[in-house]
């Protein structure tokens, strides 16, 4: 015999299950949906957070950079897992107008030998704070942000391949337009 208590338990269980499924779906969309990827990083034309950090040799590096462009690569984990990104970074090393820095929240001393093995010796590794990641809206890595000498973001995106870095570099070479400076959010949809 079906009692009221049974009906209540069944209704409650179905509701809990439905809520769980809906919330899992919302959470998944929140992490991997187009909106989630689009909001990562900083909009083109937006002022980049200013900072000055020293590398392990005590050499200060700043944003905005002294060179025309700066590429900030957020990488908490070894770039060994991203050989295509390493290839893309190597290709950019010869770029005279570009300063490449790698930002990590771990000790810079751990990253430098790895970079040496990967053919990226000499690329400064800076230890950033979690707040700096938050200010740049970085939650997935490796993440690249190009900043010009005026401190404006030229391009930013998650990067998984060398062609993404090359495409971002092309976008970064284009000066920021007046409408973009005004704050319109135009980011190249590169991630994926």
């Amino acid at each position: 015999m079906i009692t009221l208590a049974t009906i209540f338990v069944v209704i409650a269980a179905i509701l809990c299950l439905a809520a769980l499924l809906a919330l899992l779906g919302i959470g998944h969309l929140g992490l991997s949906g187009p909106d989630a990827l689009a909001r990562d990083g900083l909009a083109r034309g937006q002022p980049a957070p200013a900072w000055t950090l020293e590398d392990s040799a005590g050499v200060p590096h700043s944003c905005p950079p002294s060179r025309p462009l700066q590429l900030i690569v957020f990488a908490d984990h070894s770039l060994k897992s991203f050989p295509s990104v390493v290839t893309g970074l190597r290709a950019l090393l010869a770029d005279e107008d570009l300063e490449i820095v790698i930002l990590t929240r771990g000790p810079a001393g751990h990253a430098e030998p790895v970079l040496h093995q990967l053919g990226l010796a000499g690329v400064p590794v800076l230890t950033g704070s979690p707040a700096s990641y938050g200010r740049c809206n970085v939650r997935v890595m490796p993440f690249a942000i190009f900043v010009d000498s005026a401190g404006r973001v030229r391009a930013s995106s998650l990067v998984n391949h060398d062609w993404q870095l090359a495409k971002l570099r092309q976008v970064a070479a284009i000066p920021v337009g007046a409408d973009e400076v005004a704050g319109r959010r135009r980011k190249p949809a590169m991630a994926g």
């Binding site: 009221l4 209540f8 338990v9 409650a12 509701l15 908490d76 990641y133």
Partner: protein
């Protein structure tokens, strides 16, 4: 009628638990909404450091209270007094929605933390009145003997409620506040 009352009770309880869990994931955001309703005199009496703590404390209390009330209502359907507590909470929502509609129209209510972008508007007021209506229907008297749950059922429903709260917390963190958080410990070694 009894089955409808019990269904309303379960719906409102799950809503409360989910809303509380989502609010917990974005306490600073919800605290900003709470600040809209704190008396100005209370804020003025506090120095700059204490005021945010008060906002956060109230926000934390509301979120935790919602989870507690929802989970208790779901796992203890015999306790009629809980129906009245839930109804009082829902009436509070109606009052806040009405006040928000009157004085802070268009501002984000953060009723479901980052899960919802709802704002104080007429539709929001209608929704809170609908929830309060559900809570009101749930107060319909049900003979305790008809709704007696065993310990296993109660524990199961309590676990279900906590799972919903946890899922709401995670989903809200993923949607809004999770931007700066990372799952794994950073390391190159």
């Amino acid at each position: 009628m009894t089955a409808v009352a019990l269904a309303c009770k379960a719906v409102v309880a799950v809503l409360l638990v989910a809303a509380g869990g989502a609010k917990l994931a974005d306490l600073p955001g919800f605290a900003a909404s709470v600040r809209l309703f704190l008396p100005g005199t209370a804020a003025r009496r506090l120095d700059g450091r204490a005021a945010p703590r008060l906002d956060r404390g109230v926000a934390l209390g509301i979120a935790a209270g919602e989870i507690t009330a929802g989970a208790a209502s779901l796992s203890s359907p015999r306790a009629n007094w809980l129906n009245l507590v839930v109804l009082a909470i829902c009436c509070g929502f109606v009052a806040v929605s009405a006040a928000g509609y009157r004085w802070h129209r268009g501002r984000s209510c953060r009723c479901f933390g980052a899960l919802s972008r709802r704002r104080f508007n007429l539709a929001g007021l209608g929704r809170s009145m609908l929830i309060a209506l559900g809570a009101g229907v749930a107060t319909a008297p049900v003979r305790a003997v008809l709704i007696q749950l065993g310990p296993a059922d109660r524990i199961g429903l309590l676990a279900g409620a906590l799972l919903v709260a946890g899922a709401a917390f995670s989903a809200a963190a993923a949607v809004g506040a999770g931007r700066g958080s990372q799952d794994a410990q950073p390391g190159w070694a």
